[in-house]
Subunit: 220 residues, 2 copies
Amino acid sequence: MTAEPPVPPTSDTAGEPASDTAGEPAQRRRRDAAETRQLLLDAARQRFARDGYAATTVRDIADDAGVNVALISRYFTSKEGLFEACLRAAGDELRRTTVQTPADRVPETIARHIADPGAAGLSSQLSLLLRSSGDAAADEIRRGVLVRSSEQLAAARGWRPGEPGSEQILLRAQMALAAGIGVAVLRSSIRLDPLSSATEQDLVGPLRDLVDALLPPRES
Amino acid sequence: MTAEPPVPPTSDTAGEPASDTAGEPAQRRRRDAAETRQLLLDAARQRFARDGYAATTVRDIADDAGVNVALISRYFTSKEGLFEACLRAAGDELRRTTVQTPADRVPETIARHIADPGAAGLSSQLSLLLRSSGDAAADEIRRGVLVRSSEQLAAARGWRPGEPGSEQILLRAQMALAAGIGVAVLRSSIRLDPLSSATEQDLVGPLRDLVDALLPPRES
DNA sequence: CGATTAAGTCAACATATGTTTACTTGCGGA
DNA sequence: TCCGCAAGTAAACATATGTTGACTTAATCG
């Protein structure tokens, strides 16, 4: 329950990039634990983000990935373990996406990634962040990701930890994050029109207005 | 599958108000189909909103309501049917809450209701709206509720159906709705601090900024 | 008061699902 | 080339869950 058993070399982003949609990638090496692990991770993230944790079965994930169900238990201990791995990956991806953006460019960056309809995009990662498995460990991971993300966003707009008046800024950053997540879900999972068919061009303006209103670039 | 069988007089908001939290309401008439139906509806909405559809079992709901499991099938045909009834109720409640607010007061109204932590509050109804059962009928109901709500909000800010340039306004209204839902979920389900411990006072300012930025009170 | 009917209970069933165990197969080094 | 071991497979198991049907109990009406 504590030790992750045979776990392959944990190389993120395996050699063969997972094909975007159905159909295995041209030809894959017939036996490659790292790649198989990654295939499972990608399939799981997509399912979990779109359908939620409980509605997703391990057989669904295994079929999507084109591998055997038992490998989920082997590589991730359990369905819970796989979910936690997805959350961790989402956290990494989120950090990788938004870190080192010039601070005043943050809203556009977010907007551009939210607009991306791809299954591997940030939109999918954001949706994942409000899925819950009921497991305490997973909840803790998700909370950590959300806290870090909102702090990062808040820091770009003048928030400093502990500084008395600036707690407001963190609160507003969390609301901006919540808004982004809400938009992502209504777009990709619920498919509400015209929101879901809006292009990046359509979204970037309103999203900038939203973020700037919550987190004014200058003083609060 | 099409006819809702014995269905009692469908009196909404039964005589005995459902107790807010655990513990049956003082004394209830021992056999009252309408009240039982309402108890189930309340318990189900709460569970569905907090935990999602698949993660909620009919036995959970029945236990919360203090009634027998079989009554769910009797009164709502199936778990799906109960979920659809919850969505319909959320739609009614949402309409009832936001209709006939002076248009410029909409953000405060929404803010005040989102801030309400009560299980019966609008916050719970909003959270419910992004839960999915995978069933097409339920999806259609939810889409209808979301469309009506966003159109109502958009209309308060100058949107007129079909009018060419005003499609923008509808899009922005949907983003505002998405933001509200995101905030509600992060507050009540995910419990992200400091967002989840913020008071109505803390929320109303940022929320007004958010709505006004997306939907300027005057011209677009 | 007695019978009729609706409201509620109980137990069982069929199935879906997470997980494990024993087995097979292909890869890589000696 | 051959052997050992990791990678993958298949089938079975235990359990949880939605639903049903037969039964019991309390209201209501004559």
